[in-house]
Amino acid sequence: MQTIQRCLLALGALVAMTGQAAAQEAASLDARVNEIFASSTGWFVNAIFAPIPGTAFPWIVMWLVIGASVFTIYFAFVQFRFFGHAIGLVKGDYSDPNDAGEVSHFQALATALSGTVGLGNIAGVAVAVGIGGPGATFWMILAGLLGMASKFTECTLGVKYRNEYPDGTVSGGPMYYISKGFDELGLPGGKILAVLFSIFCILGALGGGNMFQANQAHAQITQITGDFPGWITGVIFAAVVFAVIVGGIKSIAKVTEKVVPFMGILYVGAAIVVLIVNYNMIGWAFGQIWAGAFTGLGVAGGFVGALIQGFKRAAFSNEAGVGSAAIAHSAVKTKEPITEGFVSLLEPLIDTVVICTMTALVIIISQQLIIDADTGNYVLNEAGTAIATVNDNGGVALTSAAFGSAISWFPFVLAIAVVLFAFSTMISWSYYGLKAWTYLFGEGKTTELVFKIIFCIFIVIGAAASLGPVIDFSDAAIFAMAVVNITALYFLMKVVKKELHSYASRLKSGEIKKYQH
């Protein structure tokens, strides 16, 4: 009881502090936050998104695609060969009944998914299609399919090298497999890479896992209520997140965890309804996706522009190769680390190939993107940076308008979904960030509290800043994680291959078999 009281007091102080500052400079606060933010993070963003010399292609996007392709080939298309087995594992066919009550494959997958399914699928896809045109969808799907192999690699390692503490709790993730795996193979530099990963993971947690979420949630709320300062949304969000992660009020998180999957199903259901209503245009939409993938259909940067946007948003949405999912998946109960690798490869499939594609189809079919009737190409906006849309919508507003054109009341449901998705992604990322934080600074009540408070403050900043600088920084931080993680995966992938061979041969010989339930 005392801890709760203390937490509420601290929370009150936090709100009062932010509230006072805001009252003094209510009008200019958003603008100032934005300015300071853009100027202080610009160099980092530029370094991560620097183009390959002589092209317009950001090297980081190439890095992710090459990584995913290497894993796909190295593991001989594991995402297709073991797809059926992955489904069997999730259904619990191979779970020992004596392990009932431990974390199941389904639970590990669902937890990881609730961290990835969210704004990337709703706002991110709108950004991709809004800038790169329908063709971006093709590259997004391709990136999703390849990304399944990256996810498989990192999540297998996540379970294999996790820490199991005497009190029964577990901690896993890239920082653990990098340092332990490198030691095991006698490679130098594991510790340095692990520290580097942790730093980027903390930034990613504060960026894509926090500010981007708060920012887009605010954007969605103002769509419904009309404009009001972002810090208000930020403070409310921060207060609720604070109550959960510091106050330990698990019931809020519990409710979210139950509502979010329902929202996900509702979202896909609504997308299917829109597609059914416009069934005669589905063929046309796929035609646009196919044509746009190779010609760009007039978008900025042509087909390369479509490709960059598709790959970028897919990576941002499913986080394959980023390493975050390895943290979530590592808590599963299994004797075979590779089984969680198989299960995790379903994640990019559900997230990107299914849900992102649904969003893209709805946006294309609802004709929110303006087409030049004479040429059949898309019309660019005045600045020439993105496709002109009905009412100049972008990001989550574009998705909302697309759904709204078919189901008039859906923007309200979407607003609730966005807020809940944003909230559950924040809770997930607060955990990922915390794991990286404690890896660096050690576990302990005070160090953990420091991180949690910083996390809550960034929610307010994220909600107040405008979309541009926030989305840039969020992308940059998350992709920086992938730089370190994929480097390490190249060194450690032979460990996964050994596991794969051993498991595959035992599966074939019948040594690994289904349990009779």
Binding site: A100, G101, E102, V103, Q107, T169, A328
Partner: protein, 143 residues
């Protein structure tokens, strides 16, 4: 004879225990298995933090069930000179009791009449009702 006694921790569970005790005392040799199932589904949704602590919580849940429900029950049976042992499991109550009884080759399952009422049991049926309908071993429901 082998009897599986399903307990749910509520007061009515005591009646099932008394019934089994009475039945067992009338036969020459009778093995009693006290089963307590902690309601759990592998398809529920949890946060990353809950997952990380799941193993620890599971051990705690089992320890509490043992201490509060199962051990006192087994003790009361052994004190009466009967041979009894305990099983605590996570899972769906009806499925798990049936599985254990089937696997152990039990002759009969003894459970108490459902103790929980209300809207949920009206909607989804009670564990006892599910057990009676689906069990592969004869079930006695003690009122």
């Amino acid at each position: 004879m082998k009897l599986v006694i399903g307990l749910d921790g509520a007061s009515t569970g005591g009646k099932a225990l008394d019934f089994a005790k009475n039945l067992a005392s009338k036969t020459d040799s009778c093995e009693l298995i006290v089963v307590y199932v902690i309601e759990w589904s592998p398809f529920s949704f949890q946060t990353a933090e809950e997952n990380a602590e799941r193993h620890k919580r599971r051990e705690e849940e089992i320890a509490i069930a043992m201490e509060r429900v199962v051990n006192p029950a087994v003790k009361s049976l052994t004190d009466a000179g009967l041979s009894a042992r305990a099983i605590v499991r996570h899972g769906d109550v009806a499925d798990t009791i049936d599985n254990i009884a089937h696997k152990e080759g039990a002759d009969q399952i003894v459970v108490a009449r459902t103790s929980a009422g209300g809207i949920t049991s009206r909607l989804f049926g009670s564990s006892t009702a599910n057990l009676v309908m689906n069990a592969r071993v004869p079930v006695t429901v003690v009122a």
